[in-house]
Amino acid sequence: MNNLLEQFLSEGRDFLQGIGEKLMQLEDEPNSTPLMTELFRFVHTLKGNSGLFEFPEMTRVLHASEDLMDAVRNGRVGYSQDLADQLLDAMDFVGMLMDEIEATGEISKNHAVPAAEHAQVLRSLLVVSESNADSNSDLHTSSEIKSEVNSLLAELPIFELEESVAEELYLHALEGETAFWVEYKPESDCFFKGEDPLFLMRQVPDTLWRHIILNNTAPILAEMDVYSNQLVFQLLTTAPSEELDDLFRYVPDEIKRIEIPALAFVRPTGNQDDHAIDIDFIDNALALLNKNNISVLTQIINTMLELSAPELWSSSVLRWVLRLLEHEPDNKTAQHALLKSLQTLTAPDWSAPAEHVERSDSKEVEHATTSVNVRKTEEDDELLQNFYVVVNAQREILSLSHKSGFSWTAGRLKSIASTLMGCYRAVNRECNIDNVLERALAENSPTPLLTWLEESLANNEQDVEIEVETDFSEISTSSESTPNALISDHKDAHENVVHNEAKTARRVDEVSTVVPKTLKVDQDKIDRLMNLIGEMVVAKNALPYLANRAETVFGVRDLSREIKAQYAVINRVAEEMQDTIMQVRMMPVSFIFQRFPRMVRDISRKLGKEVELVLEGESTEADKNIVEALSDPLIHIVRNSLDHGLEQPDVRLAAGKNATGKLTIRATQESDRVLIEIMDDGKGIDPKIIKHKAYEKGLIDETTLERISDQDAINLIFAAGFSTVEVISDLSGRGVGMDVVRSAVEKVNGTVGIESQVGKGTRIHLSLPLSMAVTNVIIIESNKQIFGVPMDMVVETVRVPRSQIRTIKHKQTTVLRGRVVPLLSLNQLLARGVEQLPNEDDEFATLIVRVHGEHIGILVDEFRETVDIILKPMAGILGGLSSYSGAALLGDGSVLMVLNPRELI
């Protein structure tokens, strides 16, 4: 992927994010003009960016969104929730396209239809609200829609039309009859609904062309279901639209109907392999067209037609030129484009020339140097053409003052003179403008310059050409609106000057510039850096071993001390480095919080509930991995709260609560952990229901059912396979319950807890480490091997005398500060079949760990030190051993296996 595209995607995502946020904010203040302006600017810029690439689907949707936002901004369309919904949907679609571009580098053709649908929906909002707006904007909209249609048109198989049919359609369309392209895609089970698609299509009056194609690909013959429909019907008709509506009234959803402008039928057909028409002839014809010498032009074309075989593609082009000359004599643009197509041998694209050209252009940037010579003459042509564009622009500017009467400044006049001088110099023409400029400056008037310019142009004997070129320049500079330019007229030029004055009256020193000094870095690079730091920490840890060896093996005490001193320095730097990298990886939880307003809004509307969402502590930071791991569990919990926790407004009112439920999500930092709380003031969890449910599902036995405390009962919702709702809704309760939340949180060394009061609400709290890059483990020894145990699971280490160990129901236990703690031997857990070794006083080293809220003692042989390690998950076949959470390298190069007590026990 090239840099420009990467830049586009990265910037585009920011814009999408911004658009989403602004839309949410607009919901609270629907009349805020700054918000609307900002929103429009985001959409506008994103659309502009997308136009640099060949992503017509994306541009189409964004264009529609932009027009809609423009209308909203100018108050022509009122802001509504429906409108916001549609825009959000459209932005989601654009986001999806971006993902696809990032993955594959392009957009699949399948998106053309959904893109058109999105655009259609957005435009329908525009049209509905604008039906009573002023005629000018109406014109604008309808031509916009036409351009929409035209770009759709490019994908249709019209080129298969025979020339005579195309001509007939073209003439019909010119006469004001509308030609429709109809595509009928019957459902596959349509035969069972009494539909007869073929009959229906044959019913369509005034059909000039019919076509049947296979829907998708042909199925394998053996698997083909002859009773299901596989076909798509297409036709062209000039029947009135009401008649079509009536005919297809039972299958409106399966019909796609597009009105086709006359020009779309102008598509040359025939054999293209033969050599092209003589260049001289084309130049001659173009010159005649420019001079508007139609009779001679017609004559030479007729002669040429007599000389060439009629089935040739070029003959077809010439016949079309004649038809255009006859029926649309004023449409010079189209005539010109057709004649030009004789040079290029490609049919003029009436629909979307800009998009078409763009593909070759973006490559051009990269290959500019190589292709310069080949296109030298073309460039000269272009330069000359552009020369007239620029000169005419100066003329337009100079004439401007007559109408709007603003005062001329010296600088403005100079800038025009310098532009003119530049232009003339670039095309090697004389430009003695200095005297004229001085006179203009003395009079402070544009007139001398204007007079000079008019004279200079007249002297060039090319007035005719200039006029023609100017016409074309209008098209080439407004490539997006080309179809409009072909079809409709220009608007009045000077209607909006007042508006402009207001717009530009802002003061410059109003706002100061703030350029954020941030850098966007690929996450892979940070991860790589993190891994390198990890390796360095390990390598650094080798130094104390080395110092020990220097002293004990080689007996050089001084060297040992020096190594130790140096180690202290390296250690400090390494730790600082590690902290810094970890800081880089930190990101605010707002990264996941920001999606909640939208989600809560969507879900609560779907459920018909009223919910106020309160987000707190969004700036709390944690490691990227942690924040990302938090995302799914949080979404699940929020969905649960909305679906099961908060009640319908009437139920709430009946219970004496506010009709609007309150959902609070709060993040706080406590030492090296992030706490996330999700609180709702809903109906709470009834422990009785939980108990019975758990009993029914066989999660607890009868005695437990009697004795279990309410809190323990509520905790049962974290048990695997527990779901209290019978009916599975599409929001929560898809068979995955809170157990999935718990395992996701525990995977990143987090814990989850729940408190609930019936009728008052529920509070779920998650506690997560700030970072998971470095794990603090205690090293223990058992059966002459060393193992690591994560410190955040260890409650304490004690030595339990053999006399204190009791056996209850064949299980070893001890009493620790009045609490019964079950004991397990590590050797037994690892199936070593060896007794643990006690110390001289016959005490067992016991590690008390907390697993699922319970304290359990693990007997080991001996404790060693605690170390910070970089925990690497085990790869390959060892990865399946769930009793280990991973392995780490120690300073002396040996491998430490880190146990996962949760799975072990």
Binding site: T45, G48, A368, V390, G422, A426, T477, E480, A493, E495
Partner: protein, 123 residues
């Protein structure tokens, strides 16, 4: 080497223009809105300004108006590049002080050709 200031709030567009112009041997600076552009131009005037219309803080029209008021800068040509394709938009651009009004998406050779014309450079 001639020095051009590209003023656009979209980083993608700035990069696009920069690619084209630098390939052709021009020096390019960027500004993300009218205010930044004015600040940069006042420190060191450029040979050509390529200005977007719709920008936060100070838009293209505002920039050009203010720019034309500055004694030292006002004689420099400026191209306005925008997606607003209407004829009245063009008139607004000219009234504000643009010397040329181009419509996005602008093709690389187009941009280059106009740049050369305004700067009087032979291809």
């Amino acid at each position: 080497m001639k020095h051009i200031l590209v003023i656009d709030d979209a980083a993608t567009v700035r990069m696009y223009h920069r690619n084209i112009l630098e390939t052709a041997g021009y020096r390019v600076d960027e500004a993300i809105n009218g205010i930044e552009a004015l600040e940069k131009a006042l420190v060191k005037p450029y040979d050509l300004y390529i200005v977007d219309v719709n920008m936060p803080k100070l838009d293209g029209y505002g920039f050009l108006k203010e720019f034309r008021r500055q004694e030292d800068l006002s004689q420099t040509p400026a191209i306005m590049v925008t997606t607003e394709a209407g004829a009245n938009d063009r008139a607004l651009g000219y009234a504000a002080g643009a010397n040329l009004y181009l419509t996005k998406p602008i093709k690389p050779h187009e941009l280059l050709s106009y740049t050369r014309l305004l700067l009087g450079d032979l291809a």
